[in-house]
Assembly symmetry: C2
Homo-oligomer: 304 residues x 2
Amino acid sequence: MSVLVSGSIALDNVKTQKAAKDNLLGGSASYAAIASSFFSPTGICGVVGHDFPEEHLNLLKSRDINLEGIEFSAGETFRWTGEYMEDMNDRETLEVALNVLESWQPAVSDCQKESVSINLLANAHPANQHAVADQVEGKASFNIADTMDLWIQISRPELEGLLKKIDLLVLNDSEAKLMMDTSNLIAAGKQLREMGPKYVIVKKGEHGAMLFGDGEFFTCPAFPLNEVFDPTGAGDSFIGGFAGYLAQLGKSEFSFSDLASAMARGTIVASYACESFSTEKLQDLTHEEFNQRLETFRSYCSFS
Amino acid sequence: MSVLVSGSIALDNVKTQKAAKDNLLGGSASYAAIASSFFSPTGICGVVGHDFPEEHLNLLKSRDINLEGIEFSAGETFRWTGEYMEDMNDRETLEVALNVLESWQPAVSDCQKESVSINLLANAHPANQHAVADQVEGKASFNIADTMDLWIQISRPELEGLLKKIDLLVLNDSEAKLMMDTSNLIAAGKQLREMGPKYVIVKKGEHGAMLFGDGEFFTCPAFPLNEVFDPTGAGDSFIGGFAGYLAQLGKSEFSFSDLASAMARGTIVASYACESFSTEKLQDLTHEEFNQRLETFRSYCSFS
């Protein structure tokens, strides 16, 4: 195992203007772990309830994801219910039931600790992210944390503390602006680096993502999709693919250029996440399809 | 002269949260012609009033822009007054006075007709764009038209007719969505091509621009700016720089890759337009500065 992904494991009820499906595998860690496992051995740390379907567990197992960090709790699994509008950028959260996530105390297994090289703290409460970071301290060569608007609003001190422990922060454009209280994304990215992480990735959905380093910058467009079926988990898949690709490089230190390459891979993985409910498209992705889309993407970004 | 730019010539009163200035040189044709003249001999076709300052005319002359297509009218110059909010993406138009633009009958000079290779119909009423297109018919090897939401709303039949006469349509993301009644920009770009133009460019402001061709696609990020001083005319400068660069190639036909290269040049030119009021930064731009920023931009977009 090379990538340890911790975060939420959810059951999602998703409605779009074209279709609806309940009890889908969701959550930041599920998407990220499945994306990461496309490239590298991956472990997952999270919590599920008694209602968590066997088929979802089997899917994770089928990708050789190490499940030792999953707590099987007596309560009900974290559940998110949401609806996408005609404009897929507009989504309404209809219901959030934290359930077993509320009292989750992350426990990374010894085996997971020993084999982690990339530690991906997928979106979760900063207290949970701290707990995992502390358990793998000194073990991983690269630590990544994702976050969201809610934690910026209600857990800012814990989040700021976390920024001192990680190498890379990843967040959405609106979250970067919120956190740095500026409307300029470039300024926000630069300022976020000053809070601790050596690198910052600002995700912009259909507009791609930007990487900020020490005097270095990379901008990565999104892969163009004529139709977005369900964008849930695209950002988690992006960073999961990013982490998995980094681990595959087998290095103990990464250059800025390595991170840029990883963003391109994460972008392609994320594009597949948008083409179906849950991880349906992602889990069937072949390396041949992936490589073909990556080369197409390269041609879409090239100019002389 | 290689590029003929027609469109509005304006006096702008611009207010940002940091500064304000009146009687600035503005208008789609002014920005585009100054940007184009950075690369290639350029002519302009438009109308100004008796109040149009000598210094603005002198600026155009200083760049060797052919002014024979400018009508000097007895009325007052077209004037736009606007204010940018803290978020530079939000701007409020406080006043628009069409003045001499209202009865403008574009007249391209014989000299301009004979030397045009790229015909850039910068944003103007589609009737004016038709008039210029008809006057240079068969003369230019490449015809480009820009447009805006207002014309899509009130002059759609004329605009649709224009799409049959041009090689490339350029418009903003919100305008592309409005025109094709879809929230998916990729779908909008593809559908716009079906209305006539061989190529479509969708501009996305701080997120760059996308080029759609026949089964071909190119996505160009914006140059990252830590601070945007005044984005007025950035889109016009982009397409002006694009046209000027194309003309500089000295070809009678352009490949998709030529257009992609031109977009990168337009992007750099547009970034300078955002760094000052009016064309102040653009007009002082040296080829050394430009080339340096282009190389920086190239590194910002590269991945292996």
